[in-house]
């Protein structure tokens, strides 16, 4: 099993929206390499003809009636927002300069 490089960790951090510091990258790369080396043992079963289990309960499509029910008010829903305006979440720019 291949290990994990510092560059891969930096890429994964970007995908995960984590602005890691340089020293964190060094440290995590080292630790994750050890962890991945240890967990890679699961691939022993990769070739076995065994169905995967994603969940302990064999449930599919749990439905409920489509009824109007009480829910949070806009004020309650916005009560933890870092910023809000006109009953909406106020967010930083999402489309960049144009």
């Amino acid at each position: 099993m291949p290990g994990i490089t510092r560059e891969e960790v930096a890429h994964l951090a970007r995908l995960s929206r984590l602005e890691l510091q340089a020293e964190e990258l060094d440290h995590f790369a080292e630790q994750l390499d050890v962890i991945i080396g240890a967990v890679a043992r699961v691939s022993e079963v990769a070739e076995q003809d065994v169905p995967p289990t994603s969940h302990p309960l064999p449930l599919t499509n749990v439905m409920r009636a489509d009824e109007v029910r009480p829910s949070l008010t806009p004020e309650q829903a916005l009560s933890g927002a870092p910023a809000s305006e006109d009953q909406r979440f106020r967010v930083p720019q999402i489309l960049g300069e144009d």
């Binding site: 984590l18 967990v39 699961v42 079963v45 990769a46 065994v50 309960l57 009560s79 933890g80 910023a83």
Partner: protein
């Protein structure tokens, strides 16, 4: 007054119902205890003095009006800070949720309130329940009441420590890989991971949704059963909630009879890494079960050796997805929003500032395991292991009623010893993880002190899904026999704080 904190939950509720003591007196005694010892223990992240006393007053008023009180009315409880509580802060041990006050109650919180349980406050935990020592809390570690320089287990170390320090007779934990059972084991308290799907996850901040399970913690098996009964049951707000009757765990806890039961000792839970004193107490417990009339056999579950690797792929994978909700947009921390940065940059800066090291490690590990090119080898294989583990359990339970093992390979280790060594930390959950992967039910209860360090050892009992009552039947019998042998409960031997 001091002895009120030593009462069991069952004794407390009885005394309140008979009018021998008021719920307010009980709540005040526990709040005083928290004031006296929690600076040392750090079990609580938030103590709701006014809320607790108001809830207690309501119980006293209810009794005065002649209304019948429920079996836990007026009993104080410590709630793990991972369940939402309307009007009370919920941090999950993370800086990213510092100061957040949820606008709604978790179903479990609502059920506790409906049962007239008095919620004292919220307990410390590893950040987002990721850890086995409570050292990953952004708010400082919790001390183990048996030795404050040692860990109380994790992630629910605050809840277990609150019980062992007599700050509350009841507590709530969540168990994703052992976070109820391992803290129970190392603090000499009782904890149960109910069958997956039997306690609602609505309002439980998600770590790994296919593994997370809330459950009861207490100092006695009967108290644990009473709390289990109060919180379990179908919830339409949780689509993975099981719509079936909860087994009668309270009656089972009172049975105290294991004659004729078949008990399996899992062969794989022994050997290198297992402390001698832990194995000694475990083997004595097995012998005790034989003396009590159970039939003990050895069983083999060969796939369990792959449980830990599978868990550390599945849980981080689900966490990397679940924790994407902390995006600095709708609630929680936001940093770096200076008007020039994009939402994406603000999200990345906020998550960097708001998450601790273990959470970041697991998000990256999970993102890696789910990446194309690695998915089949890692996440896909881990899911196959999950099937193999369930098959091992099915085969074992075809021949026995419950399985037993030590809960943890070692007693409580010193704070700091494994803090920056993730692999060493992960070994604490070796015996508890298989039940999370299979979704069945398991308990840890105290079975003595390890001779080499005088620290508590936990006995784990595992039952098939929806047979949670068997845990209480066996646990109640073992507890009664051990207390009989010792002449007192194990916690009586804990040093004064």
């Amino acid at each position: 007054m001091t002895e009120l904190i030593k009462y069991t939950a069952a004794e407390t509720a009885g005394a309140i119902a008979r009018g021998e003591v008021s719920a307010v007196e009980v709540a005040q005694a526990h709040l005083d205890r928290i004031d006296a010892v929690d600076k040392k223990v750090n079990a609580f992240l938030h103590v709701d003095r006014e809320g607790a006393l108001a809830a207690a007053r309501a119980v006293d008023a209810k009794r005065a009006s002649g209304a019948e009180l429920g079996p836990l009315a007026g009993v104080p409880l410590a709630l793990k800070d991972v369940f939402t509580t309307e009007g009370m802060p919920t941090t999950c041990g993370s800086k990213i949720l510092e100061g957040w006050v949820p606008p709604y109650d978790a179903t479990l919180t609502r059920r506790l309130k409906d049962a007239d349980v008095v919620i004292l406050g919220k307990t410390n935990m590893d950040e987002f329940a990721m850890g086995s020592s409570t050292e990953n809390s952004a708010y400082g570690p919790t001390g183990n009441p048996w030795d404050l320089t040692r860990i109380p287990g994790g992630s629910g170390g605050g809840s277990a420590a609150a019980l062992a320090a007599f700050e509350a007779p009841l507590a709530i934990g969540t168990d994703t890989g052992g976070s109820i059972r391992q803290p129970g084991a190392v603090t000499g308290t009782v904890g149960v991971k109910p069958t997956y799907g039997s306690v609602s996850r609505y309002g439980l901040v998600a770590f790994s949704s296919s593994l997370d399970q809330g459950g009861p913690c207490a100092r006695t098996v009967l108290d644990t059963a009473l709390l289990h009964e109060a919180i379990a049951g179908h919830d339409p707000l949780d689509s993975t909630s099981i719509d079936a009757p909860v087994p009668d765990v309270v009656a089972a806890a009172r049975t105290r009879d294991v004659r004729g039961m078949r008990i399996g000792v899992v062969k794989e839970f022994a050997g290198e890494g297992y402390q001698a004193g832990v194995m000694q107490r475990f083997e004595e417990s097995v012998e005790l079960l034989r003396e009590l009339g159970a039939e003990v056999v050895e069983v083999s579950c060969p796939s369990f050796t792959l449980a830990m690797p599978a868990y550390y792929l599945i849980a981080p994978s689900e966490a990397s997805s679940n924790l994407a909700r902390f995006d600095a947009m709708r609630y929680g921390l936001r940093v770096g929003d200076d008007g020039t940065r994009s939402a994406e940059q603000v999200t990345a800066l906020t998550r960097e500032a708001g998450f601790g090291a273990e959470v970041k490690r697991r998000i990256i590990l999970g993102t890696y395991a789910l990446s194309s090119g690695y998915y089949d080898a890692y996440y896909g294989s881990a899911q196959k292991v999950r099937t193999l583990i369930s098959r091992d359990f099915d085969a074992a339970f075809a021949g026995v009623d419950v399985l037993v093992s030590p809960t943890t390979p070692t007693t409580a280790f010193p704070i700091g010893e494994r803090a920056d060594d993730p692999m060493a930390m992960y070994l604490a959950d070796l015996c508890t993880i298989p039940s999370n992967l299979a979704g069945n039910a398991a308990m840890s209860l105290p079975c003595g002190l390890a001779p080499e360090d005088n620290l508590p050892v936990g006995l784990q009992i595992i039952a098939p899904a929806m047979a949670d009552d068997r845990l209480y039947r066996v646990g109640g019998a073992v507890e009664a026999a051990l207390n009989d042998k010792w002449g007192h409960a194990l916690l009586e031997e804990a040093p004064a704080l």
